[in-house]
Symmetry: C2
Subunit: 321 residues, 2 copies
DNA sequence: CAATTAAGTCGAAACGATACGAGTAGTGGG
DNA sequence: CCCACTACTCGTATCGTTTCGACTTAATTG
């Protein structure tokens, strides 16, 4: 069957252990090195990662678990995480659990059975139950995008509430009072925080009105519908603040379709780096999450934890463009 | 350390082999089953796939390799593939290679080192070099979305050329003659095919004009810019046909922004299931790829091949809505 | 040149699961 | 009540590495 270390040993007349040493970068005699390298080439040896992982309990792989694969936020971060970890010699295994708690836990088990050396997770809920198994097995866990009730893991989030307050205040500063919010289900940590920031600002200005808040379900068509509703129900709405990428796209389409001009008939602030923003500048603003940075920091914190560092909580800053 | 089969054996008073049997679905005595299940829950046992793979030479994992994670087409298919394979007891490992040939090959090696039982790939090029290593190792390969020059693998594609021709013909039938096309880089198989279909129809009608074709780079902002250009350069353009989801979104924004009404001032056909389509119906049409079906068929063909079936070439049909 | 030290090499025991032939309960018929 | 037969269950070898203490070289030194 497959070529093993034993075949190399037989071929070279050396012991298994010596071959293994060579393969792991431990120095061997010059003439042995040559013999081994020749044998490897001749027999076409490839290391069996299973045997190795079984023995070492390490896989060189990090598990990445997210609720949905279908949004720009997740995929951008994943791409960056992969890039960084790859540079450090790690590969990643990605799972999405479709925002399903049961599947989430199942996925954690799947990843653990693959012997991942660490777990980066964007949890469905704020409960630590999802990744408890991993923590219990002493596997480093980095949680991104959401705070949870666990102290054993690192958290990497952005200043959702503040930045949303600030974005709302900026709109208020322009003299707008009727400012609508398109947000996600407030069960979700980020949606809740962003709504809270908006509410902070609106209440302070004494213009908060629950009916100005619509749930856009975090999707393009949800953002589209929510915006349509807003425009219909509040004809004199002066501004709209949308709190994620997909809904922003949907919202723009709806506004345009209704014949209103962003920056002229209506103020608009979206979320995440909408590539087409440049074409709207300065008419449209966006709250820009440092997606790449989130990915990079997650990867860094992960490798630090693998090397024994303690969990850390990091808050990154979004900016308004 | 980690909980092993031996711990379960000690806990239950049974032999390793019996536990293993249970874990592999071989029937055990009712009262033993209960004991085992309790022990698993109590100790938090998770099977060590590495030990298992070492022994069985199988991993229960399929590798999925795509050029980009950042488009709806890929992510929808991946989600479906995962769903189907999960139901058959397989997990998936996803890699994206950022449309980089070098990374692509590297990723194939990575996946092989993870001992995947099969490889589902959306290759960057039409050359079989990318997955040659896998084929050589006798690992089943399913190629989706693109045809390659390999006979050792299964191909699952849609009728790109025909459906694009048909979509174009439908627009022509409405009396339009100046029909612009927003496409991707024609190095890409699907972009090439779709452009070819458009060209077929336009030439047949005697109205083909190279300057009506714009490259939208497959992205939202690319589609936006390309459409802006079209509207500026061909003021009397009568219709626009866009050939992927992201560009469709960008294009719609651009058209709206220029104050033209889809279905009234301009005919519009997009690509892929744009969720907000319903709001435009019947003003806007879309070429609908059976994304879920692609994923499902890919998963089916993969498991068939693992069980020894020969490679197959399957062409699925897109529809115009 | 003997003694010491450093540098490589060795053999065998794990790692945690599965496979296989052999053994032991449980079941039903005579 | 026993025998044959089915249906589990058992012990152990094995997969391909790494690990570890012991051992053998080679190099260094007084």
């Amino acid at each position: 069957m497959a070529v093993t270390i034993k075949d190399l040993a037989r071929e070279t007349g050396l012991a298994n252990a010596t071959i293994s040493a060579y393969l792991n970068g431990i120095p061997v005699r010059e003439y042995n090195r040559i013999k081994i390298e020749e044998a490897i080439k001749k027999l076409g040896y490839i290391r069996n990662d299973y045997a190795r992982g079984l023995k070492t309990h390490r896989s060189g792989t990090i598990g990445v678990l997210i609720p949905e694969l279908s949004n720009v936020f997740s995929t951008t971060i994943i791409t960056e995480i992969e890039e960084c970890l790859r540079n450090k010699g790690y590969g990643i295994i990605v799972c999405d659990c479709r925002t399903d708690l049961h599947r989430e836990e199942e996925s954690v088990r799947f990843l653990l059975s693959k012997m991942v050396d660490g777990l980066i997770i964007m949890p469905v809920s704020t409960d630590k139950k999802a990744f408890a198994v991993a923590v219990q097995k002493n596997i480093p866990v980095v949680v991104i995008d959401r705070k949870t009730n666990s102290e054993d893991v690192s958290h990497i989030v952005i200043n959702n509430r503040e930045i949303s307050r600030e974005a709302t205040e900026r709109i208020l500063a322009k003299g707008c009072r009727k400012i609508a919010l398109v947000t996600g289900d407030t069960e979700v940590y980020t949606a809740k925080e962003r709504k809270a920031g908006y509410e902070d600002a609106m209440r302070k200005a004494g213009v908060y009105d629950e009916s100005f808040v619509k749930n856009g379900g975090l999707s393009v068509d949800g953002g589209y519908s929510a915006t349509k509703e807003i425009l219909a129900e509040i004809p004199d709405v002066q501004a709209i603040f949308v709190t994620n990428y997909e809904m922003t796209i949907g919202s723009i389409i709806a506004i345009n379709e209704e014949g209103r001009k962003i920056g002229k008939d209506i103020e608009f602030t979206g979320f995440d780096k909408v590539e087409i923003t440049s074409a709207f500048v300065p008419a449209m603003h966006t709250v820009n999450q440092p997606l790449e940075e989130i990915g990079r920091v997650a990867a860094d914190v992960m490798t630090e934890m693998i090397e024994g560092a303690c969990p850390r909580d990091i808050v990154l800053k979004a900016e308004i463009l």
